[in-house]
Symmetry: C2
Subunit: 463 residues, 2 copies
């Protein structure tokens, strides 16, 4: 079948103006935030219903045509990149939030619902959708589910996985499956819902999701603490978790804070400087909790773990303290940083960081390392800034060497080469550092069951 | 290979006295709490290490011998029954709790660790393992995981699934997989850990589990409310959930309470009688929460949803109020009840109950129906008592007819034919009421990937 014939056929499967082949659309819908691969899709197709998705998949399956799902394309692992003449299936028009159920606290979302749209909808119902991250203004819910998106509140609310009560998916043969149907308890064989969560579109496409909502947090309060020794952050975490239910436990380094303060209107949380900072958030529902937090804070000072600290007294102060942590990524973007999203067990984080620092400093003493991340769940973001005198290509070449060292240390600590960004294409060849050969072979076997002709997002996660 | 040769071979794979073939052992280890199938295992084998489990599975795989995993055998769906000459693999000697990590709050359990043993271990560390149910004194952790056990605190803590941070499994070819390794964040392809949870030993055997612990609940308090109309229970649930984080929301009928009060030393919660009762538990951490609970209680009285109520003022009173609910199962056992463990969405429960009652009453007006269950998660336990004048066989024959009606209503409400007891053999032929033919076919495909020769717990869940 020629490309023209394919496009013609696609036009019969969706509304005829919902197939795009103009260069702008191909470039726009063919890539994600990684921007390392040249987008080269054959066409972009915009279904408006589940039936249209099924028709597209059946057509592709019969003709062995590769499909790539497209949500908000905010991914950082090239999971939604179409670089090999694939047909991109964009879910932008399947974006309704409906069937809110106040007793079950569930709501049914089209795959193209924007994360923020769901958050706002929940708020309008007096409820809360707790998965939140930098790209929530443009990421789509099916993409969140397909990559099991994490974010800043995982310590309390878990990953996207925890909020999916039901899932409609179209498999690689065009079959529609209605998984779990919004039930809380359902032990009837293999839970395919969980298999699809985090499968990055390689087993099938998510065409509807029933999302769980919860009550909104009350009186959130933030503490920022100056911690001279990284390892003490673990003691601080333990001390707080014993007394208070935390909603976030983040960390960042003095180097990160310096950059943010120098390049924005963000204020330092307090005068004194320490090598590391912990940001702790909790629901300060009454004075007892506030007293408890102060007690733990003082205990941490006495132990020498913490040198200084501040507790937010208003929503405005809470927001400005959060910016010390949240503005890092955007601030350091101008140094074209090498980024790596990795995780180890929480207790392994100090040793892991020390080893990574040592190996990078040994080989590239002029590389500036910026650490920050979600310490409460073991997920650290390694960022290395490009020295001004080094060309971009040379820098990234050296960094790919760094990747190997980092992943070897990840493996040593039985960690994850992708904590929350997924595998896509950028981490596919490093998968063996976290998953065994046997596991990868079984993944291939599983893919064959759901997608016998290998048309669903081929080349992503596994080969 | 003759049975004698098989036993001889098995004796070379484990310690020689760890293979049993005496009739008592065969009868004991060959069945579970269902007791409807005649146990007929060929032998019981007790591995003491992961390597021994692998050796047994490899031997069985090479010789096409069926294996049945045996934990505490407290299951109610015949998932651990060996009725066809299978080799039972009993994990009783692999029961160590070790490698507690206070920062990660994780602990590594052998498959044979008793639920209560883990609960006590957690308590000794000042922590809490929250999955609890009637059989926790004898059920084993790998069995809990293989059936994704639920229980009485799911509304707050979720199912067993939520507490599994890592899983070592031996697949049907004897391969060992180390899944997720205790990580909180790990988005590296298909999450096989979740696939194995609830797979009832049909994909492989769980040989080690890293379990997550949490802080113990503080100052638990129970409210029992008398609710005249079942549908009002939903309004009560919603009213409480809006204001208070609940740890349990259970219900039982006046019929259930009458039986318990008549046949034990349990006291009625209060004088007045209503057709239904809600039992609500929460952490009453300070007076504000207590006041809030009283406010909601009064609101529910004003609305006419609730007629009377009592709030526990001591641990002793809390325990005695819980007995109104927890003693039901044991109390009604003397009527050889027909039992069914089903779930629908929480909001569908009232309509679902009404329909089931109507169809049973219409056909068998002399059957006494006892309802109780975990209303907060949509899981109801239907119990029908055998009329004294009806023989056991005749009763169960009529009840199997009832099952069909019940499952048709389950299907109509998109519910689950097994909320928390799993499928095993007793619900296998009803699986289609919850899972589509397509899903069941895909389950078979998945099983073939992990267990190509079909030796792992054959005949359970799927055929």
């Amino acid at each position: 079948m020629t490309p023209e014939q394919i496009v013609e056929q696609l036009q019969t499967l969706v509304e005829s103006d919902k197939v795009k082949t103009d260069p702008e659309s191909l470039a726009f819908y063919g890539t994600d935030w990684t921007k390392v691969y040249e987008p080269k899709p054959l066409a972009i197709v915009f279904p408006k219903s589940i039936e249209q998705v099924q028709a597209i998949v059946r057509f592709a399956n019969e003709n062995q045509l590769a499909l790539v799902p497209s949500g908000g394309r905010t991914g950082l692992s090239a999971g939604a990149v179409a670089a090999n003449g694939e047909i991109v299936v964009a879910f932008d028009y399947m974006n309704k939030v409906e069937n809110f159920n106040p007793i079950d606290r569930t709501v049914v979302c089209g795959p193209g619902v924007i994360t923020e749209q769901l958050q706002q909808y929940a708020e309008e119902q007096g409820l809360f959708y707790p998965v939140d991250f930098a790209s929530s203004g443009s990421s789509q819910i099916a993409g969140n589910i397909a990559t099991n998106a994490g974010g800043i509140k995982v310590i309390r609310y878990g990953m996207t996985r925890n909020w999916v009560a039901g899932l409609k998916v179209v498999t690689g043969t065009g079959e529609l499956m209605d998984l779990n149907k919004g039930l809380v308890k359902n032990n009837t064989g293999y839970d395919f819902r969980h298999l699809f969560i985090g499968s990055e579109g390689t087993l099938g496409f998510i065409v509807e999701a029933t999302m769980q909502l919860t009550r909104p947090p009350k009186d959130l309060t933030v503490l920022v603490l100056g911690v001279p020794e990284f390892s003490a952050i673990m003691d601080v975490l333990k001390a707080f978790q014993e007394k208070i239910d935390l909603t976030a436990f983040e960390f960042f380094s003095e180097k990160a804070l310096t950059k943010v303060v120098e390049h924005s209107d963000v204020q330092r949380p307090f005068e004194s400087r320490t090598d590391y900072y912990a940001l702790i958030e909790f629901e300060c529902i009454n004075e007892q909790v506030a007293d408890q937090a102060m007690e733990v804070f003082e205990y941490c000072m006495e132990q020498g773990w913490v040198e200084d600290g501040v507790m937010s007294q208003s929503l405005a102060q809470l927001e400005s303290l959060w910016r010390c942590r949240e503005d890092i990524s955007e601030t350091i973007a101008k140094w074209t940083p090498y980024k790596n999203d990795i995780a180890v067990s929480v207790s392994h984080v100090p040793a892991f960081l020390t080893e990574v620092e040592a190996v990078v400093n040994q080989h590239y003493p002029d590389f500036e390392i910026i650490w920050f991340g979600h310490i409460g769940d073991g997920n650290v973001h390694l960022n290395i800034l490009k020295p001004d005198n080094l060309a971009k290509e040379a820098f990234f070449e050296k960094c790919s060497e760094v990747s190997n060292w980092v992943f070897e240390i990840v493996q040593k600590y039985q960690g994850s080469v992708s904590a929350e960004h997924g595998v896509g294409m950028t981490k596919r060849d490093y998968l063996t550092y976290t998953r065994s050969e046997e596991e990868i072979n079984l993944m291939k076997g599983i893919k064959k069951v759901f997608d016998p002709n290998g048309i669903m997002n081929p080349g992503k996660v596994i080969n």
